[in-house]
């Protein structure tokens, strides 16, 4: 029987949660790197025992950790993230120019083809790549040096590159998203980039349908339909069917279209999940009721999923990298909260149960299905 391993990054360390394929009994292991912020912990699609962790902290900066045995042991990889060429400037919160400055790695995205190749999304926004298992990093600088780059500004969480999608059908195509610059696509392996924000409207910027400046929170894609993208924006849930060439809003009947994560069912490319949050000034669920919303129609029509989730006095948030789906049948859905709970559903979202309740605030959740 297959097994499931959930990789959890938190404010104070990393945890692994394992179960057999029934997903009923769980073993919790950790913390690894206790006391450190683990913005992201993820595994290689081609070698599930190859794990990577982004380890950071206010005292000692950024480290990258690598495991070759599924997380039983770790070695420190490279942490020299140097912006290429003339560093240049972007806009600060107050509208003044400010030099790009490396702060941390938000997201690691391993290659679909090579366990030694992975991409890293940085704050201040930049995309790095390593082809030697994380030892050496080089910037794909055309993104940051896009003519619009000087106009990018940070969102409240920092100017972070938080989403990286490596297209499953086209090895040269990469999608990224940056708060608060927007979404970008490369069709040549990162040598050049196109802003893909047509159709987005953001009331927080003076020109609401500007080419850049949108606070995109998360992108999701189903591997069988690589031209269809789903987006949770600061406000609004959006959909594109032309690889980001244009977007339309599919928030429909959501109680709030503010939120952070968005995920697609592993076997149903029109079934998507979001976690509505009250607003950008109140980062907790509407009415104190934690509800995942599911649409089986690719958006517009949404149903609340509440069984097993707290329906009173719940004021946690679910961050953008903290939701994942497994590839078992029925599809498993997982998410972690800023209150330290990791919930899972083994039936596509119909019912939920906590795997663990009292971890540090959860920053990221990934899931692996093991042979």
């Amino acid at each position: 029987m297959s097994a499931v391993r959930v990789l959890v990054g938190t404010r104070k360390g990393a945890f692994t949660l394992t179960s057999d394929g029934r997903r009923g009994d769980w073993t919790v292991d950790g913390p690894h790197f206790g006391g450190w912020e683990i913005y992201h912990l993820t595994g290689s699609p081609v070698d599930p025992d190859r794990l990577y962790a982004s380890q950071s902290g206010g005292w000692f900066g950024q480290l990258i950790q690598r495991s070759d045995d599924g997380g039983r042991s770790w070695t420190t990889a490279g942490n020299d993230f140097a912006y290429a060429g003339d560093v240049g400037e972007h806009l600060w919160f107050d509208g003044t120019p400010r030099p790009w400055e490396f702060k941390r790695i938000w997201h690691l995205e391993p290659s679909r083809h090579d366990p030694d190749t992975l991409y890293a999304g940085a704050e201040d926004a930049a995309l790095f790549v390593s082809t030697d298992g994380g030892q050496k990093w080089s910037e794909l600088s055309a993104l940051r040096q896009h003519p619009s780059g000087g106009a990018w500004q940070p969102g409240a969480g920092g100017m972070c590159l938080h989403t990286i999608i490596l297209d499953p059908a086209n090895r040269d195509r990469i999608f990224v998203a940056i708060s608060a610059a927007g979404a970008f696509r490369s069709d040549d392996g990162g040598a050049s980039w196109l802003p893909i924000n047509k159709g987005l409207r953001s009331g927080e910027i003076p020109d609401t349908d500007s080419e850049v400046g949108h606070c995109v929170h998360r992108l999701a894609q189903h591997p069988s339909r690589p031209d269809t993208l789903f987006m949770q924006k600061h406000w609004d849930v959006m959909r594109s069917d032309d690889a980001g060439g244009s977007w339309r809003e599919v928030s429909g009947n959501l109680p709030s279209d503010f939120g952070f994560p968005i995920a697609v069912h592993a076997h149903e490319p029109e079934t998507i999940y979001v976690v509505p949050i009250t607003s950008d000034s109140m980062h907790y669920p509407p009415e104190g009721r934690l509800r995942v919303y599911r649409s089986r129609t690719g958006g517009e029509h949404w149903e609340p999923l509440t069984e097993g989730l707290p329906q009173s006095h719940c004021y946690v948030n679910v961050l953008r990298d903290a939701m994942a789906v497994d590839t078992l049948d029925p599809c498993g859905i997982y998410f972690g909260t800023t209150g330290g709970q990791v919930y899972h559903s083994a039936d596509g979202g119909d019912s939920w149960a906590p795997i663990v309740r009292d971890l540090p605030a959860v920053l990221s959740v990934e899931v692996q299905v093991l042979p």
Partner: protein
Amino acid sequence: MIRVVLPAHLKTLAHVTGEVRVEVAGPPTQREVLDALETAYPMLRGTIRDRRSGQRRAFVRFYACERDLSHEPPDAPLPEEVVAGREPFIVLGAMAGG
């Protein structure tokens, strides 16, 4: 040999438990000691000093002989007690909450 005391997180990272000892080639200075430390423990690169600028990270402090050496020039000689190995060179994380 220069005795160096690391904060708990960096001891874990370097896989050491107690003090570490480093040998420096020239006159002992902060820079020489930290260079030797990073050569012996490459996983510490970037954790005490910024990888690009070489500057001490904002929330890292250097103490020795009951003195705060954090703002001393990196090439200033270390106290004789540290050079003689009678006192350690202490690297620590500044007090911070959260």
